[in-house]
Structures are given as C-alpha cells and as structure tokens.
Amino acid sequence: MGTWIDEARREAVEAVARPGDWLTAAERLDVWREARRADHDPIDRARRAAITPAAVTDRHPASGHLAADAVDVVHRVATDPGRLTRAWADERIAALGVETYTELVGVTAIVRCLDTFAVAAGEEPVEPPPPVDGEPARHRPDDVGDVGAWVPQSVDKTLANVSRTLSLVPETNRAWRGLVNAHYSRGDEFLDLNWDRSLTRVQVEAVAARTTAELDCFY
C-alpha cells in the first residue's frame, strides 16, 4: 500500500505546482502556503473560538499571489469548514468568480490531504516544489449545471454528490480524485464491504466517522 500512496502523493504534489484550471502554479502554491499559515493565524483562531464566524470581522490581507478574498477562502476552508454558509460563499464567488472559488477549495483540500497524511503517519511534511511555468487551462466543462450545490457541478447523476464537487475544474478534480482513490476508495474495491486490506471496512469507516466528527462535517 505504501508505494501506491507514495505515487499518488507525488502526482498530487506535482499537480499543485503546475498551472491549474484558472490559477497559475504560483497561485496554487500560495494556496498551500496559506493553508499552512492558517493553522497558526490569530484571526482564524479567534474566528474558530467565536460563537459564530461572522463575529470576527478582521480580514486577511492579500498574499504574494492571491487576492484577499482568495486568502479568505483558503483560510476559512482550512480552519473552519463546518461553519461555512452559502451567504459567505456567494460573496466570495461574486468577488473571485465561481471557477476560481471552486479551484481554491479543491487545492486547499488536496494540500490538506497531503499535509494530514504526513502528520498522521509521522513523516516529514512535503516540501512544495518550484512552480511550473505556463498558463491555466481556462476550460469550463459543458456538462455542469445547478445540482443544488453552491457551485455548478456535473449533471451526471450516476456520480454521488461528493464525487462531483470539483467537476467544474477538471484539472484540479483529476488530481483530487486520484488522491482520494489511493487513500480511501480504490476503484471497485470500494463497493466491497468485506474487503481484504490491513484494516477491515468497519475499522476504516470508524476512522472516517471520527475524522468527520472532529471536523464538524454534516455530510
């Protein structure tokens, strides 16, 4: 299993350092830096402690490559995802564009997955590589629409909602789904509740359930 995980993680690191859907490589790497910085940021800690996130009105400044609204998305998704609201997202989407908003969410999720694995497994944190030159793909898929989420998603109803969260940004989605497949679902093996892994299905789902509870996730 270790080799499989290592390969997927290496591919995801390389993907973050490449131009994405609407963000440059430098912007995507700034997402990584900001997601890490958020862990110890006094504004984020104060917001997390407040009875409601709106009680803290201080704002993060722009970073080297990201506008202030983009920094806010990264920090909020990184540190307080369970208390995000549609009104907050609508404001950020109005400022950034829905594609950029979605990519910021996706890259934050990818780097959180990478960093959390290192913490959990007792490995050294990944050193982000230098940015790769080039332009973002800037491709909006044709098969996306309103399926009830805050952002347009694939209208393919054979996919569960959690599987099409990032379908608006295919480059980011590819990297994200590769990572989840290696860490958790592993293709058709996911359908087998009695799978043959070093942990049973019940054990894995218990770890998953405890994790979502720790992170205040309803879904």
Binding site: A121, Q153, A160, V162, F218
Partner: protein, 167 residues
C-alpha cells in the same frame, strides 16, 4: 457514519456509532464493538488535532498543558502494536482523505444525496446531526421518507447509491 453502519450490518457487528463519533471517548479500553477500536479512534482524534491546530485549539491560547504531538506519537505507537505498520498507513490515509473530503463537501455546499438522506435518517436522529450548520445545504431533509437506512436492494446497490465512485 452511514457507511460505518452499513458495513457493520453486513459483517454482523454491533457498532456503537455514538461512541465512535464522540471525540471525548478516546480512552483505551472502551468497548466500541470492533477490533482495535480504541486504538484506531484515539489515533484518529490525535492525528486530526495535530493536523488542525486552529480547530483543535477551539480558541484557546495554545498553552494547553498536554502536548498534542506527544499524544499522537503515543497513539501511533499503540496502534502499530495492534494493527501493524500497514494498518497504521491505512488509518493515516483514511484520516488524510477525509480531511480533504470534508473540505470539498463543505466548501462547495453539496447536498446529501437522496439515497443518503433516507439511509442516514436513523443515525442523524440518534446523533442530532441535523442541528449542524452544514445540514442547511440539504433542502429536502424533511421531505424525503425516512426508511431507517434499510431500503430493499442489494448491499452493492446500496453502497453504490450512497457513495458511488467516491474518488
């Protein structure tokens, strides 16, 4: 939580889901209903708290007397003792995957799938999950029938409908 309940039913195990999601019950020796449960859950909580210090702090000043990193190291050691190094990697990978999944789900404001609304009715009621902020994203929680998570289809069909192609 739904897949935990589904898989435990298929395997004929009685799982205390309430205890599984209660981060305060991490002391070793608890009876959760499956092997190495206490070690796995203690590890999951410890890993999440080190990986998410802003969330774990909950607004404290960071001066807590216990060292989260030391707690995680001990939890890791105890987990390896019962599930081996490969089991540790599997658990770490699961914690990591769900640290991402939570963020794409909450960040894009997805609704619960219809099948999930029905299948999760029992566990949502048991644990009071509909009071969470994220429940507002699912506009039909009170509309769809609550069959208590026991629709009449095959296990594969149920899993596919709940989390099809979760990657």
């Amino acid at each position: 939580m739904v897949l935990l309940r589904e898989s435990s039913r298929v395997l004929g195990q009685e799982i205390d889901v309430d205890a599984v999601v209660d981060g305060g019950r991490t002391a070793l020796g608890g009876d959760y209903g499956f092997p190495a449960a206490a070690e796995l859950l203690a590890f999951a909580s410890a890993a999440n708290r080190v990986a998410n210090p802003a969330m774990a702090a909950g607004g404290d000043d960071g001066s807590a007397t216990s060292d989260p990193t030391a707690i995680l190291a001990e939890a890791r050691r105890q987990l390896v003792a019962v599930v081996g190094p490969e089991g540790l990697l599997e658990a770490a990978a699961t914690v990591a995957a769900f640290n991402g999944l939570v963020r794409v789900a909450d960040g894009t404001g997805i609704e619960l799938d219809d099948a999930m609304i029905v299948a999760s009715a029992e566990v949502r009621a048991d644990l009071g999950l509909d009071a969470m902020t994220g429940s507002a994203n699912t506009r039909r929680l009170d509309v769809l029938p609550t069959a208590g998570g026991a629709p009449s289809e095959s296990t594969e069909g149920r899993v596919r409908s709940l989390f099809a192609d979760a990657g």
